[in-house]
Symmetry: C2
Subunit: 210 residues, 2 copies
């Protein structure tokens, strides 16, 4: 049993709760104007290292992103996120861990360089999570996205920790992270709040219902 | 001219962006379960003082709430908030400043004790803001709520500073603060982030569009 593995979600979000702009989809993954949520990470040393690049800033943001990467032993993501990313991630994807893709289309697993593999899971989120737990080596399972996938896990109470990297912008319209959840009234336990010139990083433990 | 008056909004919000639970309205002002967002403030010395009570905690939360009260020279609110509050606020309301109520029903102004007065404005938000500015004595005009009123001011770019007191809870369903705004992509400037055991206080300046 590996039930003591922590299930995490780490998302970049506007102050008004959007993780992408309007019209997000394949070909426009961040939605209109959604780059605003991601540009801060591009210059960080820890992020660049995962992209096979050198240099970048060593600051608190870089530490927080690096901590997230290093703590993750397996990844679960939705099919749209995978379809959008597969080509740009290339043969040496930034995950360096087994990735489990939720899909309705069976496909053979693929092994990439650097520790990344792609396994396609057609029998739902519980199966994906079970496989990811078993493959995580005792490290965290990260629910990478998109919004719909994170919502599926939140609805059934399967996420233990959520970290929101809040960017100082109001989108007004866009893809909401906390949507279609049904009534929760779920208590959170603040684990850490770090404010930097780039973002405000809010990390919470999601208390299990009694 | 009093155009250098700062227009503020100060709201208590769940992590998923709700300022009230579902089914909010007259008779159920905080919505189902919405008390969770307000209970932290009830024990603060600065809050109790405004209610005519003694005692309470002198802590960072109390300072932040007291700072907000002291900086406010006039208040604008929607009719539903007023109708809900008028009776409990009584003859010595906590505002201690002129209050301008947005309504379609003309009504004579009323002067209460302690510096509070109620003026009923039937010709829209710009008129209410202009009257509040003129009455503010150079201090801030606070847009007190509800969500619909704050949204009206946000849509037309009339709020200068917004402070969100974020409570560690996911509502799932409820009254969203940042809703019905249309496309904004409005940059914010973080002014202060304070994290306490009660809440995370995020204060932003809303950058004016060029």
């Amino acid at each position: 049993m590996t039930t003591n593995v922590t299930v995490t979600a780490d998302l970049m979000m506007s102050v008004d709760g959007c993780i992408a702009g309007p019209n997000a989809g394949i070909g426009n993954p961040g939605g209109d104007g959604g780059l605003r949520l991601h540009e801060w990470i591009a210059g960080l040393a820890s992020w660049r290292e995962r992209q096979g690049l050198t240099g970048g800033e060593h600051n608190r943001d870089s530490e927080i992103v690096g901590e997230w990467f290093d703590a993750t032993g397996a990844v679960v993501m939705g099919r749209t996120m995978f379809d959008t990313g597969e080509e740009p991630w290339g043969d040496d994807p930034p995950f360096r861990a087994p990735v489990f893709v939720l899909t309705h289309r069976p496909r053979q697993p693929e092994v990439k360089r650097g520790g990344t593999s792609y396994t396609f899971v057609t029998d739902g989120i519980h199966s994906a999570l079970e496989q990811a737990r078993a493959a995580s080596g005792g490290r965290n399972v990260d629910i990478a996205g998109g919004a719909d996938t994170v919502q599926q896990f939140l609805r059934v109470g399967l996420i233990d920790e959520i970290q929101l990297h809040v960017l100082p912008v109001l989108f007004g319209e866009g893809l909401r992270l906390f949507d279609r959840l049904g009534l929760l009234h779920q208590e959170l336990e603040p684990l850490r709040v770090v404010h930097t010139p780039n973002a405000t990083h809010l990390k919470y433990r999601i208390t299990r219902k009694a």
